[in-house]
């Protein structure tokens, strides 16, 4: 297994750093999947507890100007690593104003992801900062649990309001209740509701727009104004919103009720170069 990559563009480095910060806010450990064209950050909290599960995909050529990898084998040309998210974000934080950033897989006493930064300094010589981040290689037999989630056709899919606004509303609501109801319809309306014995607060967002539906047939007879609702733990939603440091070009939320009655809420955030689905 081999991996080496290099970033020289400041904006790309910045973007990569912010993504790493977002991951660090969402979960303590994450999986990094390296394949010839992409880099994925995968978080797998137990969905049964209403945890956050995340799949984040980066097109490697949008970030790295050098990218070489050799997977476990020719047929399975991928690498799955587990690491402590904060270790990576902290290492990247020291790379502000870097001339170049190199990441590679190394084995110094134990397997590591080595982040090596060449920093600009006042003098002619550069400063070189190196961080060896311990990692665990994930064996092939566990790869099946880390595949890209299949996104089922949603019942309702809607573009979100500005995430910052949504975050500040949800933060205030957290003081009243832990339980939040999200309602959305195909008419561009989204409601955030909390309810206690004493008070009921609803925030209405209008004219949000809905993305085109994947399969028209299922929804043709649906009343466009019919609200689909899900109940979620407000803290988990905040966890997701707090991690959003990358200004998205598109953020949408999909709501799905499957036949078993189980509801899932899926947030999809797209930025210029990456696509993250949560």
């Amino acid at each position: 297994m081999r991996f080496r990559a290099k970033i020289v563009d400041g904006a790309c480095l910045n973007h990569f750093t912010r993504i790493s910060n977002m991951i660090a806010k969402l979960a303590k450990t994450c999986t990094l999947r390296i394949s010839p064209d992409k880099l994925n950050f995968i978080l797998c909290d137990k969905l049964a507890n209403g945890g956050v599960s995340m799949w984040c995909e980066l097109e490697q050529e949008n970030f790295f100007n050098e990218f070489q990898m050799e997977g476990v084998s020719a047929e399975n040309n991928e690498i799955y690593l587990e690491l402590t998210s904060e270790n990576l974000s902290r290492a990247l934080k020291t790379a502000q104003n870097a001339r170049a950033l190199k990441i590679k897989l190394t084995n110094k006493h134990f397997p590591c992801l080595t982040v090596s930064v060449e920093l600009l300094s006042m003098s002619s010589s550069s400063r070189i900062v190196t961080h060896d981040i311990p990692i665990k290689v994930i064996p092939r037999k566990l790869w099946k649990d880390l595949q890209e989630p299949v996104v089922p056709d949603p019942d309702v899919s809607i573009y979100l309001p500005v995430l910052k606004t949504m975050k500040s509303v949800v933060e205030k609501m957290k003081n009243i209740s832990n339980h939040l109801v999200i309602e959305a319809n195909l008419d561009g309306e989204l409601n955030l509701k909390i309810e206690t014995e004493l008070v009921c607060v609803t925030t209405h967002f209008k004219d949000l727009g809905n993305p085109p539906l994947a399969s028209e047939s299922t929804h043709q007879d649906r009343n466009v104004e019919h609200m689909a609702e899900v109940h979620i733990d407000i803290r988990k939603l905040l966890q997701f919103l707090a991690g959003q440091q990358v200004n998205p070009t598109k953020a949408l939320c999909m709501h799905r009720i499957c036949r078993s009655g189980k509801k899932t809420l899926l947030f999809r955030v797209e930025t210029n170069e990456t696509s993250k689905r949560m």
Binding site: T94, H109, S125, R127, I128, V129, T130, H131
Partner: protein, 389 residues
């Protein structure tokens, strides 16, 4: 007899003074205050004697600095309070009364000029290096060659914890104000103390000088900006081999246990019990201008060369001395040495000097207070310095 101290500082001076106290507080909870005509020295040492700090504020640092030794007081009850008065804007006065107690003197021997390796850096460089490490990092290693400098996570520590990130930063020698390396060296010392020193240095805007030798020998960090002179001595981790050859280094044991070899007895009334202090018996020299240092064990072993050197300074303050006994080197030097600070006499030796030891320094705001100050008698004990608890 009493020594008196009164200092007045402006807001910006308080800031620097406060940062010094903060830096020293990372070494120890206890602080020694040594006023003299050279200025006010703040000193501390940690419980395992592996870190020492001293910040000397010259009289011109303060808006007003008043110090006098040996004012004759009348007998009275004990009053040991140090008054800190702050005058904030809007004419609000805040007074803090801090109790202190007499204590053993505190010095360390360290000869900066014979160190093989000397660096001078801007605090900014050190600050950039420090952010690499997390606050849980206990020790860092400094590795130098004649061409470059590297600060890195201590190898011993990162091997133990499989989840720890190992970090290092290489800096070229041209980033230093002064870079003189006599031999390739790698030394390991405590990170926590380094952070405190950095915060203080940023308040003074002066460069930091670092003096060091081989592993096991202490490392000194100095900051001197004309008004304030600070010195911090930190123990370094010794290799097995070097520990055998230089047993007298102020050093950490290899297992990173802060040395139990040093037993510290708190503050007052330490009589002739040996502090099994490991300290260097180098040629004593001045770490501060016009001051002589003795090592702690020399208090008990008065034959050390340090004591003889002390004679040179004694003459400067001999007019302040109240010592009545003469000529026994060592113990006499000891007493006279303490006299330099407080005009006090003491004895901690097997020899029986029965001179009552009267030493009290009290910050006083007015002349009237002086009359109420009392005298404390110590028989055969070593109270020489003050200790803020």
């Amino acid at each position: 007899v009493v020594a008196m101290l009164k200092c007045v500082m402006s807001g910006s001076q308080v800031k620097v003074f406060g940062k010094a106290v903060q830096a020293l507080s990372r070494i120890s909870d206890e602080l020694w205050l040594d006023p003299s005509k050279k200025g006010l020295a703040l000193r501390c040492v940690n419980s395992s004697r592996s870190a020492y700090g001293c910040v000397l504020f010259s009289p011109v640092f303060f808006q007003h600095y008043q110090w006098s030794a040996l004012v004759k007081m009348s007998e009275n009850e004990l009053d040991t309070t140090l008054n800190l008065k702050c005058k904030l804007g809007m004419k609000i006065k805040r007074t803090h009364n801090i109790c202190f107690q007499e204590s053993q003197p505190l010095q360390v021997i360290f000869d900066k000029n014979v160190c093989t390796n000397t660096l001078m850096i801007q605090p900014r460089l050190l600050a950039d290096a420090i952010v690499l490490f997390t606050s849980s990092q206990e020790e860092v290693t400094l590795a130098v060659t004649p061409l470059n400098f590297c600060l890195k996570s201590s190898n011993e520590e990162s091997m133990d914890l499989s989840n720890a990130v190992y970090s290092e930063m290489f800096v070229g020698s041209d980033e230093f104000d002064f870079f003189q390396i006599g031999m390739d060296t790698e030394i390991t010392f405590c990170f926590k103390e380094l952070k405190g020193i950095l915060t203080f240095s940023e308040a003074t805007h002066a460069p930091i000088s670092i003096y060091f030798d081989f592993p096991g020998k202490p490392l000194a960090l100095s900051i001197d900006d004309m008004l304030v002179e600070a010195n911090f001595i930190l123990a370094t981790l010794a290799d097995e081999s070097s520990r055998a050859s230089s047993p007298q280094s102020l050093c950490l044991s290899q297992k990173r246990k802060r040395s139990d070899l040093i037993k510290k007895k708190a503050g007052k009334n330490i009589t002739g019990q040996a502090l099994e202090c490991i300290s260097r018996k180098a040629a004593p020299r001045r770490l501060y201008p016009k001051e002589t240092l003795t090592n702690i064990s020399a208090l008990e072993n008065c034959g050390s060369p340090a004591m003889k050197r002390a004679n040179g300074d004694v003459s400067e303050v001999s007019e302040n001395s109240v010592s009545n006994t003469e000529e026994v080197p060592g113990s006499l030097c000891l007493r006279k040495f303490s006299c330099m600070f407080f005009g006090a006499v003491s004895s901690d030796q097997q020899e029986h000097f029965n001179h009552p030891f009267d030493s009290l320094a009290r910050a006083s705001d007015s002349e009237e207070d002086m009359n109420n100050v009392c005298r404390k008698k110590f028989n055969g004990s070593d109270a020489k310095y003050f200790c803020i608890i």
